[in-house]
């Protein structure tokens, strides 16, 4: 994610005619927005916690100790800053590792969505005709079904597993990317430079990869900022429902599911704390996404 934020894609310059050096311009827009900075800082912290989980965790996340079950948070002092869960596992360590799983899940599943969606969108928009009709009909069908419901059905049938869930959520996400990319491709394929490339005898494959693709990536970045939080929350939700990752995976959704039964006996931390961490992560992505949407959408320039 951090990579995507500071490094605008090659296509930015073509779609945003604002500046010859989009990188410098994006960075200026970032610095001048306190909201974007707050989001960026939050996101960097969450990513750091996730990446450094093995180093930062005070305990082994899976280590159970039934004599220390449901220990209340001790905050800054004591061995368990955020308390322990129902089987005596340290909550802070589990949240660190849970963030790791959430982030990994978001990145990998979105990578699948982008790969499938961009490939389908570029070829549909470039070749048009039958292929286009077929791809768009399939995308319409996919989009007419609510995201979580399809994920729920697929996960219910296919069974638990982090890898399966990544594939399921990744594949379901293809349609939005395909539709957006196809729209941009239709516009780009009529441009003179595409015609020039064709006149020079470039193969379709080369034209699509070298000339069309870089010019349709800006909306893809914006879509990623919307799709990634949704994918991350979907994993947590399915895991909470018992249809997501296996019980041995340190997922925030599983932590919350394991903790919420103890709400009525007064132990609020095993369910509230992991949810808070999940929310911080999603807020961070959303804030950075909002800023990118404003910065990359040429229609919004000059306003606000």
């Amino acid at each position: 994610m951090a990579q995507t934020i500071s490094e605008p894609q090659p296509g930015t310059a073509a779609v945003v005619p604002r500046s010859a050096r989009p990188r410098a311009w994006l960075w200026r827009a970032f610095r001048s927005s306190p909201v974007a900075i707050a989001g960026g800082v939050l996101l960097v912290i969450m990513i750091a916690l996730a990446v450094l989980a093995p180093v930062m965790s005070p305990w082994d996340p899976q280590a159970q100790d039934l004599s220390r079950r449901l220990v209340a948070p001790s905050w800054l002092s004591g061995p368990h800053p955020l308390g322990t869960d129902a089987v005596g596992r340290d909550l802070l360590s589990n949240i660190f590792f849970g963030l790791r799983v959430s982030l990994l899940f978001g990145v990998l599943s979105i990578a699948i969505s982008v790969a499938l969606g961009v490939a389908a969108g570029v070829s549909a928009g470039y070749y048009r005709g039958r292929l286009d009709a077929l791809v768009m009909r399939a995308a319409d069908m996919q989009l007419s079904l609510p995201f979580l419901l399809v994920a729920l059905a697929a996960a219910a049938i296919w069974g638990r597993g982090l890898d399966k869930l990544i594939v399921v959520i990744g594949v379901i996400g293809w349609a939005e990317f395909a539709r957006t990319v196809r729209g941009s491709t239709l516009a780009v394929r009529e441009k003179e430079f595409v015609e020039a490339a064709r006149a020079l005898g470039a193969l379709d494959r080369r034209i699509m990869a070298r000339h069309v693709l870089p010019n349709v990536l800006t909306p893809v970045i914006v879509l990623i900022s919307v799709a990634m939080p949704r994918a991350i929350v979907a994993e947590a939700t399915l895991s909470f429902l018992g249809l997501g990752v296996p019980l041995t995976t340190p997922s925030l959704g599983l932590l919350i599911d394991g903790g919420y039964k103890y709400l009525f006996s007064g132990s609020w931390w095993p369910s509230i704390m992991p949810g808070l961490a999940l929310m911080f992560l999603v807020v961070g992505i959303n804030l950075v996404g909002d800023w990118m949407r404003d910065a990359l959408d040429p229609r919004l320039h000059g306003r606000r």
Partner: protein, 305 residues
Amino acid sequence: MTRFLIGRLLQMLGVFLVISLVIFMLLVFTGDPIELLLPPAAGIDQVKALEVQLGLDQPWWVQYGRFLRSALRGDLGTSFYFNEPAIRLVLQRLPASLELVVWTMLVSTIIAIPLGAMAAVNPNSWLDRSVLVGSLVGISAPTFWIGIVLIALFVVTLNLLPSSGRGGWEHLVLPVATLTFYRVALFIRLIRAGMLDVLGQDYIRTARAKGLFERLVIYRHALKNTLIPFVTIGGIQMGGLIAFAVVTEKIFAWPGMGRLLLISIERLDYPVVVAYAIVTAALFVVINLTVDLLYAFIDPRIRYE
């Protein structure tokens, strides 16, 4: 118009068939309900007899063909567990789920439209700022976690409301509030963005130049045009709510079809799962058609030929 409706219905029938086939096949290839239904000590004869009784000894295409034929008669098979028609089990629980969906849509729209419009009319005011911050939290917090926070606050700490079951309005408050949270946030953002867009258009300047009251300009001219894209999103959200209702029904032990789905998945009771999918798909057809018709009603430029 009629042709449009027929085309739309045919398309949806196609969606139906694909959904049912995919779900049916995947279910046939995974899991064995016999193992769950019979005691572990059951003999091979008992297993064979039950297989024949449930039709599981036939190849999958025979099973699917039989399933389709009976589906056309409104019969989606018998639940392995309850030994009752699966469709009846799902339909019995449909009103409870719809109750959640409809109330959530009503409450979120009623809260979101005025707030979003007012925020757009006064950009950068304290209202606009708090609406933006609030809606950011709203779209970021996972629905199921909101439910848990609400239980911690209103049931465990304040002891104000019941945490489970269906009954009077007091049972409805927390599940609906849980589902409303995200949707209010999303709708506010959409209405605000849409209004900002519309308020910059030329016809709004014309309306103002004519000397119309500001309130008339905002609510008659601007808001009405903002609502057009909102109808689509509202329709999609309503479909999504059926899925999110599964989450809420689990947390609040709400006796809807979502809870039935979770239980049936656990028991590998696949006629019920398929019946759930078919009923849900039917709901989408209704919702999508309603959205299309509403579109034509709100925007007279759209005529379906």
